[in-house]
Symmetry: C2
């Protein structure tokens, strides 16, 4: 990244030395994991550029938006409705949480047995290495799991712009009513932040913008049905990760360009892995940048990932929002209906997720499922056992992985994944 | 226990050999932990009897009630309103969850990193050693922590009479509305179970019955303000544990008798520990029968426990329900108001608990606080760090313990507790 950004990072209050170290590791990791792949779609060059500028150009864009009077809202979860943020003239960005940082200091604030994702979000704050967090005018927490909801109480002592959204635990009438009330409360809070009232026109446009982004990434997903796979799981995951950071319209165009490009090799039965390569569906916890450990291991072991049943994947993106409402209220209800369908493991019971995993196995012609669980993520780890059970009953091989962001278990994971892939051949 | 009970246990479907082994360990533990204490109140003989008959006479009583047409409702949590259960002509009992059992089989259903309390509840079911569970006509789960709410999904595959109650995570208007709706739904479910409609009279009587039980245990708590302490923390904890099992009226009488008895030695400045013995408040996770590990260590280390800020303790019992309502609806609202005050760590934020801990330190003249956290109990472990922080700011020594039900860490815990007690002298 350019030296021009150093002053920008300094102005944001980043710890430049620590940030340099982070970018060094990130760049090296990206080189090893992504750029070493063969026969990548040309359109991935855009994402390579985005990643090379993830703390540079994109941050500069956000700061330019701020200078022009727009507000930035940071989020840790797919339950934060981007439609509302956009409609009130703000930009939504995902916040950094895919790598260990400042762990020793984090564990003074969070108990040791907290999942890596939550620890990471604290590490990036305490270590002063997340320019997104430092650029944000509002940081949105949400009461999903126990770990996050209790962690936000402490995060609120580290930042002065935390907004916490309550969420239901049950998909009941009361649960729906809670989400309705909370999304309206959130709309009011964003309107106060920006000074811009959400209108019928702005909300309709925002819904269409976000729907277009989702439709594009869904189009990419559908292309992965092809055998041989036209794109690696790593590259597809990257697109799903950039979904949370990029300018929505530009992201939509870039993904659609890749899709256009892929149609030709798919028709010609060409792919990035040989035909009959074992096809894997990854299901479970979100994999945030730069958490590429599992897909790297899987695709190095001679399998290809054909889908992500994950927040960073179809769980987060698959459903569109009905844009046909004639009033703000009608569209807000449509937004609630859309997000209420998200089948996160925080819901009890959560049968939709079991059904969706099986549907994805069928749709993407997967040979097996790897359940990706972050250590100490109780909702997904607990749900992994019934997931495995239901898949076994359908004779779909399933491997349950429990890991964190460290590299210590790479050898052990590789052995387990290789054995699993062998079983699928 | 009498041989007469063997047929009863067999009829309940218990595994007699495993149950014998459990009772053997329980009896031995009780002997070592409780009966070895000096100068116990005479009134504790009642609780010794209750414990000696905990799987015997009390179960026979419940079965006699069932034979007479009454229903038994089993619960794992202080959020299940006993008032409603009693008013619909049923009996509420706490379900076994204080010891490891059948752990290997449990871990096939629950992920390894689940807290001991949840694992224990499954172990007692799978191992067929809990006569309360097997006697219950309805088992009530509740969406408190992630661990429990997801575990109930699996428990529902092991029993055919599970009822799950949703709970709020935030003490907001919406949270209150959810609890109101859920307690009304629960009332309807219990009425269907018993065939008995809750009436103004039955609900008023039930509120008074439960209030009397709470008032009695609160009276015992207040007596523990005395120095020297008139009753050991172990004995007081036992009374708090039996609170969940015993016939309410008999329990109330028995606790009041102990209180009557204690007034004389208190006036005479006599106690079960020497004056100036370091006084400890235990705060945190519930300690269910027979989980007596920590208080045994503390009171063997030369300190006395003067209060429990716990579900099995003041968090569960301190607030009474307003019985002045003139209609079922008014009284149901009063019940909601009462339970909504429970300051469980599942709520976010949860400032009432921080205030209550400090209030208890003052009220009971405690020299220090031991925060008791069950390993993998995210809500209490996460809250333990701000608890420690706020106590340190007030110069109140605090020791954070993280443990489970095994005896493996007794040596290590003893060392830490002894050092902490030494610091308080």
């Amino acid at each position: 990244m350019s030296d021009d950004y150093r002053q920008m990072w300094k102005d944001l209050g980043l710890d430049l030395d620590a940030h340099d170290a982070l970018l060094g590791v990130l760049g090296q990791g990206y080189q090893q994991v992504f750029l070493s792949q063969q026969d990548r779609p040309e359109g991935m060059a855009y994402f390579d550029f985005v990643m090379s500028e993830v703390h540079g150009l994109r941050i500069k864009e956000l700061l330019d938006e701020k200078a022009a009077g727009r507000k930035i809202v940071g989020s840790y979860c797919v339950f934060v409705p981007e439609e509302i943020v956009l409609a009130a003239n703000a930009t939504l960005v995902g916040l950094c949480s895919g790598a260990d940082f400042a762990t020793e200091d984090v564990e003074k604030l969070l108990q040791r047995n907290t999942c890596a994702l939550i620890k990471s979000s604290f590490g990036f704050k305490i270590g002063k290495v997340c320019p997104y967090l430092e650029s944000a005018d509002m940081i949105v927490g949400e009461n999903t799991c126990d770990g996050k909801k209790k962690a936000y109480e402490t995060l609120g002592t580290l930042v002065d712009n935390l907004y916490v959204m309550d969420l239901p635990q049950v998909k009941s009438e009361n649960g729906n009513a809670l989400l309705k009330a909370e999304y309206r409360r959130f709309k009011a809070a964003v309107e106060i932040l920006t000074g811009v009232a959400v209108t019928t026109e702005s909300l309709k446009l925002a819904i269409r913008t976000v729907n277009a982004k989702r439709a594009a990434i869904h189009r990419l997903s559908l292309l992965r049905k092809a055998d041989p796979a036209p794109i690696s799981g790593l590259d597809a995951l990257l697109a799903n990760q950039v979904f949370f950071y990029d300018n929505p319209a530009r992201f939509t165009d870039s993904v659609n360009k890749i899709c256009d490009e892929l149609e030709k090799p798919i028709a010609a039965k060409q792919g990035v892995f040989p035909e009959k390569t074992p096809r894997i569906l990854v299901s479970g916890c979100p994999q945030a940048v730069p958490n590429w450990k599992l897909p790297m291991i899987v695709e190095t072991a001679g399998a290809v990932i054909v889908g992500e049943e994950s927040c960073v994947g179809e769980r987060g993106t698959r459903n569109l929002t009905d844009a046909s409402g004639q009033t703000v209220d009608e569209m807000l209800d449509a937004i609630v209906d859309r997000y209420f369908k998200v089948d996160c493991a925080i819901f009890t019971p959560n049968p939709d997720r079991l059904a969706h995993i099986q549907q994805m196995v069928t749709d993407y012609n997967a040979d097996g499922v790897i359940h990706y669980g972050l250590q100490f993520c109780q909702p997904y780890l607990m749900e992994s056992i019934p997931v495995e059970k239901v898949l076994e009953e359908k004779n779909i091989p399933c491997l349950r992985i429990e890991t964190d962001y460290s590299m210590e278990d790479v050898g052990q994971l590789t052995t387990r994944v290789e054995a699993f892939v062998e079983q699928l051949r």
